[in-house]
Amino acid sequence: MIWDWDWTLEILPGLLTQGLLVTFQATLGGAVLAFVLGLFVALLRRSRRPYISRPVGAISEFIRSTPLLVQLFVLYYVMPDFGVRMTALTTGIIGLGVHYASYTSEVYRAGIEGVPKGQWEAAIALNLPRHWTWISVVLPQAVRRSLPALGNYLVAIFKESPQLSVITVVDVIGLARELGSERFRYLEPMTIAGLFFLLIAIPASILIRRMERRLDT
């Protein structure tokens, strides 16, 4: 038997608790940041002042066109030079959040554009102040439309969070690599870690597809 069950049972609890905990922290932290920041980016890109909307759009485009991994390196290596000291996990959460904000901003943008013109016109006809038009009419509808796509990005952030292991975060994959390097044997820890991701990501995606269909009707 190639598979070592004894060792599997030995390392499973650690992967399940310590490793998964860090993965969830990274995912949730990154997602919250991406969802909030993305909304601001979407709003800034709609600004009527070109000196705001243009640069924000360009930066967002740039972040989306370059690898998360390199962005993580930049944060991890360069930030301390400017006197910003953070744990690797915090650095990783910021990296995930900023990177995926460039995606979620597009989701919000589509959501905002999907709000029918009649809604804006009704708000004007009712003399609703501009900021209240956004807060109570447009954004609630836009965010609702965005939910399925945001759900997909939550899963995407979860799946991509192992990249944080490259900047020394000990998440499920980071831990699996550590365990593997102790014995020069990666089969069990890597397989278990991979299964974690499958077992969480696939049901989550199916759930989101269901939600999407329900919102459609």
Partner: protein
């Protein structure tokens, strides 16, 4: 006229120190991106079509592949192929090959979804007309459905190819000497971090932009084949659909 070789060690200052290495890395990055794309497309077309099949079993097989490889990220698949699989199967993949394999399998799964969606987006009437003209199933696919579906595929494929390019950076984690790897090496050996990272990001951005230009050209050609104006592009919507 003076031509400047951007990879030359003669360039002034930090550029001369770093660019030769980054160019070496860029070549590897391109190799893995091209290899990964070819594999991904070679997988996506048949699997995507399988996913639209009338036979339940065929559909299910396609689904299983797609769900499995979309269920984990490239990095996890890469680690598994490179670190875990050798123990199980007894042979060690070359690291660049393992990288291309992981990229192709992963992005191929997303690509299958794009193909499936595009084929299903072809209006039913088109297929019915083809049946009425007594075209064989193969002819229907080849001459009616695929040319129309192809136009729909190009914009989301553009986004997937950019995702693939970005994912090549993960190969550095199994010590493939790509751009990201060379960049990190330079930083670790004392080159100016800001310059190295700025160059790194700029090169990746440039490559992404090249992909977009290429795909716009392809899209224009594909649209002309079916006699359509080039559809207006919407930046990241396809990525949403794929992710």
């Amino acid at each position: 006229m003076i031509t400047i070789n951007p990879c030359s060690a003669e360039l002034p200052g930090a550029l001369g120190e770093t660019m030769p290495f980054l160019c070496d890395g860029a070549v590897i990055t391109l190799q893995s991106a091209v290899g990964g794309s070819v594999l991904a497309i070679a997988i996506a077309l048949p699997v995507g079509l399988m996913a639209t099949s009338r036979h339940r079993g065929v559909r299910a097989a396609a689904r299983v592949y797609m769900e499995f490889f979309r269920g984990t990220s490239v990095l996890v698949q890469l680690f598994w192929l490179f670190y875990a699989m050798p123990l199980l199967t007894g042979f060690q993949l070359d690291k660049l090959f393992a990288g291309i394999l992981a990229l192709g399998l992963n992005l191929g799964a997303y690509g299958s979804e794009v193909v499936r969606g595009a084929v299903r987006a072809v209006p039913r009437g088109q297929l019915e007309a083809a049946v009425a003209l007594n075209l064989s199933p193969f002819q229907r696919m080849r001459y009616v459905v695929l040319p129309q579906a192809f136009v729909e595929m190009v914009p989301p494929m553009n986004n997937l190819l950019i995702e693939l390019l970005k994912a090549t950076s993960l190969l550095s984690a199994i010590t493939v000497a790509d751009l990201a790897y060379e960049g990190r090496l330079l930083v670790n050996s004392g080159s100016d971090q800001l310059i190295v990272f700025a160059l790194l990001l700029a090169i990746y951005f440039l490559l992404s932009y090249l992909i977009t230009l290429l795909m716009r050209f392809v899209e224009g050609r594909a649209a002309r084949v079916v006699g359509r104006e080039r559809p207006r592009r919407r930046a990241a919507t396809a990525v949403e659909a794929a992710r």
